[in-house]
């Protein structure tokens, strides 16, 4: 214990003594740390912006779907209703905890073109929602043409991108084939009462390779009646729980009932791979930084090693064992890395506090669901950054430290006389 204390004390003193070397290593570590923190923030921004986007446009913060066993994602609705609906256990849990949620019926509907007498290729998701509840919760949805009419039972709202692709307009009568609870497929006719689009995140259009949301919204009650679904049953539950207070419980319940749990943030991962892209981007930068960091600090540590040969030689002469020396030098490295990293954190924190209204990434704003980027301070990236800096410092000092243990004082003193 005392030894550690002494090591730390000595480390601080030694750090002050090689100002140039330590300044140079310090700058490299400092910049790398800032980049790490920034990188973490990049990903976090993308995640939270997209989560918010999905939550307010489409999916809720997360939802539970009764696609038993089928590993489907949001873009691929099933033409068949699930054998089992959302269990009452989950509904009870939600009611008991007064969670904000909405029941939905989701089903894949085949679009029939009356004029050409043929089916269209794609299978859009027809989603039966509680109009009153969800039109308020989906606050990023905007009706861009037509209007919402609560008195029109078979009225649907169509996602603009999808409506455009089928040339549907407000007021059009359309035919959809669906399978009901008896497994019979019938045509149902609907009236397009409005075309919806998102308010924020406009820069998304044309960026995605796949069609984003082939989605149609219809009244839950009307759809339940048509398909013969008993009242109060749901294929899907959308939950608005920004803090994720109930997330863990619900995830567990979903698992127990073999239902699919889906989080808003998973949505963009599946749809665009944006987080993967940012992650790849980030790790490429990080890898580059690390290589530079290792090379730079290794060089500087080697210089430091030669500078201190004589001193280390006298420590060895005094009876310092290799193990002791390694401890001392490692501690020096840890103390130094910690100091610089703390400094970088402090600096970065001030940056985030004075960052203003955020940075507009222009074309690249698609990464952040069209929002501005605001540098944030993420605990996770602080931890990751610190560990990385420690590991890198360790790698780049291990060889110089190894050389140190090979120092022979007799040689060193002879050299010193030259």
């Amino acid at each position: 214990m005392n030894t550690v204390k002494n090591f730390i004390k000595l480390s601080f003193k030694n750090i002050r003594r090689h100002p140039v070397k330590n300044f140079l290593i310090g700058i490299v570590i400092f910049l790398a740390s800032i980049l790490f923190l920034f990188n973490g923030s990049l990903k976090e921004n993308a995640e939270s912006a997209w989560k918010d986007y999905f939550s307010r446009t489409f999916t809720g913060d997360y939802h539970i779907t009764s696609y038993q066993g089928l590993d489907r994602d949001y873009t691929l609705p099933s033409f068949t209703l699930p054998r089992k609906m959302i269990s009452s256990q989950i509904i009870d849990y939600l009611d008991k905890n007064q969670v904000v949620y909405s029941k939905r019926i989701k089903i894949g509907a085949a679009v029939y073109d009356d004029k050409k007498s043929e089916f269209k290729g794609s299978l859009p998701a027809l989603i039966g929602i509680d109009w009153e509840k969800e039109l308020a919760l989906l606050s990023n949805l905007k009706i861009v043409s037509g209007r919402f009419d609560p008195d029109l039972p078979n009225g649907i709202l169509v996602w603009k991108e999808y409506a455009d692709s089928l040339k549907w307009k407000a007021g059009d009568e359309i035919t959809l084939y669906m399978k009901d609870t008896e497994k019979n497929t019938y045509p149902y006719s609907f009236r397009v009462m409005g075309i919806v689009n998102h308010q924020e995140g406009a820069s998304l259009e044309g960026k995605g390779v796949i069609q984003m949301f082939p989605a149609l919204f219809v009244s839950y009650q009307y759809l339940a009646l048509q398909l013969g679904i008993e009242d109060n049953q749901a294929v899907e539950i959308a939950v608005w729980d920004k803090e994720g207070k109930y997330e863990k419980d619900l995830k567990k319940l979903a698992e127990e009932n073999s239902l699919q749990y889906f989080q808003g943030t998973q949505g963009y991962g599946i749809v665009f791979g944006i987080v993967e892209l940012l992650g790849f981007f980030g790790s490429s930068i990080a890898a580059l930084i690390l290589v530079i960091l290792v090379v730079a600090t290794l060089n500087l540590n080697m210089m430091g090693f030669f500078e201190r040969r004589k001193e280390i030689g006298s420590l060895v002469a005094m009876g310092a064992r290799p193990f002791w020396l390694v401890g001392l030098l490692l501690m020096e490295m840890v103390v130094f890395a910690t100091l610089v990293f703390a400094l970088a954190c402090g600096f970065y924190f001030i940056l985030t506090q004075t960052g203003g209204k955020g940075i507009d990434f222009g074309e690249m704003a698609v990464f952040f669901a069209g929002k501005k980027f605001t540098a944030g301070f993420e605990l996770q990236s602080v931890v990751n950054g610190y560990l990385t800096i420690l590991i890198v410092s360790f790698i780049s000092s291990i060889y110089p430290i190894y050389l140190t243990t090979k120092i022979n004082p007799v040689d060193v003193f002879r050299e010193a006389e030259i």
Binding site: L10, S314, L315, A317, M318, G319
Partner: protein, 226 residues
């Protein structure tokens, strides 16, 4: 206390062999103040390094306190140095970033055996007093004169209560006046604390502080009468 028997050490300088020690046999008793004289290149430093367990001989035997150390591993030798041996170097070799007190304390940090903080402090304070540096305890080495630095080195060599202290030309970097006071200090420590000193020197004027005198020539050691 220290005995060498037929100790040989040969160095390779390129292709030529340099026989630095050609079979040295001698013995040092407790409380002695041994002076090693000899021209440059005669093997004085080599002898001190071997006797001080900094290096190992090619052949021959070395005993310290009756323990044969000539075949010990480097790690084991480090332990012997830490507990039994002190060094005073020509070039002082103090640690520049820490003050006088901390420099003297250093060998105690390396030591395996536990010494209480209180005991540490009294030891160091006593030594600082003995070498006359009370006013400089908080100064860093670069704020001291050469003579003062060598005093710090002496105190440092003595702090772990070694049985023997080796000093390789301790006065070579000092003017003759300062050199004399350093030797006087060693002599008084030898008298008062019964510490054994072995020092090598070129300077005939400081041989008079020795209780026994050896002459080194071309790797061969011979005793000289005082």
């Amino acid at each position: 206390m220290i005995a060498l028997e037929e100790v040989r050490k040969t160095y390779l300088l390129g292709k030529t062999k340099v026989e630095a020690l050609k079979g040295v046999t001698f013995q040092i008793n407790k409380g002695e103040m041994v002076c090693l004289m000899g021209p440059s290149g005669s093997g004085k430093s080599t002898l001190l390094n071997l006797a001080g367990c900094l290096d190992r001989p090619d052949s021959g035997k070395i005993w310290i306190d009756g323990e044969e150390v000539s075949l010990y591993s480097l790690k084991k030798l480090a332990g012997i140095r830490s507990s039994k041996i002190g060094f005073i170097f020509q070039a002082f070799n103090l640690i520049p970033v820490i003050n006088v007190y901390e420099n003297i304390e250093f060998p105690l940090m390396i030591k395996k055996e536990k010494i209480s903080e209180k005991e540490k402090k009294t030891r160091i304070d006593n030594l600082i007093q003995a070498v006359g540096l009370e006013k400089f305890a908080k100064h860093r080495p670069d704020e001291l004169s050469g003579g003062q630095r060598q005093r710090v080195a002496i105190a440092r060599a003595l702090v772990s209560s070694p049985e023997i202290v080796f000093a390789d030309e301790p006065t070579a970097n000092l003017d003759s006046e300062t050199g004399k006071t350093i030797l006087e200090l060693l002599a008084s420590l030898n008298q008062n604390k019964k510490t054994t000193f072995v020092f090598a020197t070129h300077d005939p004027s400081i041989t008079r502080y020795a209780t026994s005198l050896f002459q080194m020539k071309d790797g061969i050691l011979s005793k000289k009468e005082i």
